[in-house]
Symmetry: C2
Subunit: 380 residues, 2 copies
Amino acid sequence: MATLGGPTKKHKVTVIGSGNWGSTIAKIVAENTRAHPNLFEEEVQMWVFEEEVTLPEDSKYYDASNAGKPQKLTEVINTCHENVKYLPNIALPTNVIANSSVRDAAKDSSILIFNLPHQFIGRTSKQLEGHILPYARGISCIKGVEVAEDKVSLFSEWIGEGLGIYCGALSGANIANEVANEKWSETTIAYDPPTMDSRSPSRNPSPSDNVSASPNMEHKDVRGRSSVSLSGALKNIVALAAGFVEGKGWGDNAKAAVMRVGLLEMVKFGKEFFPETVRVETFTEESAGVADLITSCGSGRNFRCAKMAVERGVTVAEIEKTELNGQLLQGTSTAKDVNNFLKARGRDGEYQLFTAVLDILEGRKTVDDIPDLLARADDP
Amino acid sequence: MATLGGPTKKHKVTVIGSGNWGSTIAKIVAENTRAHPNLFEEEVQMWVFEEEVTLPEDSKYYDASNAGKPQKLTEVINTCHENVKYLPNIALPTNVIANSSVRDAAKDSSILIFNLPHQFIGRTSKQLEGHILPYARGISCIKGVEVAEDKVSLFSEWIGEGLGIYCGALSGANIANEVANEKWSETTIAYDPPTMDSRSPSRNPSPSDNVSASPNMEHKDVRGRSSVSLSGALKNIVALAAGFVEGKGWGDNAKAAVMRVGLLEMVKFGKEFFPETVRVETFTEESAGVADLITSCGSGRNFRCAKMAVERGVTVAEIEKTELNGQLLQGTSTAKDVNNFLKARGRDGEYQLFTAVLDILEGRKTVDDIPDLLARADDP
């Protein structure tokens, strides 16, 4: 680390979001700010979308005098130091401070870590606009991309442009509960901000070096937010296909075959539509690429729901209804969006797996058709 | 397919080897020769290392009049059309003919498919030398490479040079029993023989096009026997590491991280020592590469034994003794050979995962050291 010439302003870090993954990231960040007091303010604000929770009688935080009375989630977090609703049984460092006001949470922060459902990005950015430090930097932990017919946009760019700041991206083989339980894990951070200028709070140009430096979570900086974000979106389509094949009981050869073709199409999609910005190596070498694909096809939600659908002989849409309370899987909407995007370019015949998944989801093909549908997948 | 100008001699195909994988390949080959009578002689000879088997009373082939009397394995195969010892409960096509003489089995064959334990290559080649058609072509289904301190040799080249013929290589995410049960599967065939000359039995230059064309097993021809064979060897080291991590219960993130670093080192090894002959894409795009790695780290033998060793708190060598009757895992010897090869070149510090696996196998490090040992794995 560069020696700093005298006292400088420290970084204040805020985590925007407090779900399963958001709370996990807040835990790591707070451990790091505590471990590096020369660089960071210890307190980490975490924005919580306020809701009321009622602690059950068997909760260790149950208070008889308060029996049955709903409490604010922020208050429970700040009292119990645990996000009892979204990351139960994991102690949060006491320097994580839940805050229901996103503006107040982000005030004076030089590092903003976005970790919320992508549907909230627009609204939250609006609330923050004009209320953050002009030299703040962001990192988006929101996996995926927004695919419209006419273009693919990165969530990190959407956030960055909305707020007028640089925003990097973090993605990887990161099942939140495993990370929260301090199991060894890697991630990929694409963070390559423009050179700092005089507005910078310190002359040390690399806040990202420490953000995720936890003994249990290692990261490698890479250029290429596009690859990281694309990979995080497209792998969900592949995970659906892997779930279909596993649900049929076709064995490990078939599942590996589907994953191989999926990786091939992820790389091809990146090369074809993002020739300037995509790093092929991110897909094949980084935690955000092949490793995240492996994890997603091993125990991810898209994989599990697709497998369940085949085993029960119902559609994935039915599983979304009955098992996810109608919440949609990331993979189903991405499959639709990506295929629309391809069709708009006359390229829908060229991505056999992506198209097969949509055709199966929409009932035009069945899982038994997969071998035939993928027969041309290796053609250049 | 090219139209042939009049009658030509047909291909005769022989499978050298009859274990679990050899018998499976013989099944596919015999289905194909039957389906393409214009190209192939129907009968497929399969060389069987003769041994005696005694059918148990509950075998469907048990013959009371013959009770308890050992029979020759070749006779059982040719009577029951099943390899009761190495591929039980799978019907072999009746045109698979077991033969205990390797010379007789290979006589007049234009296509020789090698599928036997690599320890038998030298001896078997010696027996065949001078007794095969001079224009025969081979395909080796023997995974891996021979790594000595001074060089890495491909089994396919060893066979080809020993017999004075061209020999291609087949490798992929191919668990034999899944293929034998006709589950959908892919493989990679590296088959790029020199142009046929006048000794060729037909003007159709591509016997490989049909060899593996089964409805359940698809293949893609690629150049690059080196990549296919190297990948088949190195993935076993990675599978040990994945087993170690899984045995510790570290979860999917950690396993994916180990597999990612393993793939990285496989590619790096290929690029560094086989710059002329290795195709990087084979590792990252082919069935013989990333797909085989996934399968091997999912249910392969190296993976399972390493996991078991950690769970029971014993060494892998002990598992080899107690669970494999002293048979050695491919991964343990490859780890040793590859590290010796690297050491001889002063490059042993540069392959963290390969070295970590050997150090753990030999007791110099423990599985708990893996995160630290891999911390530099992404350095160029």
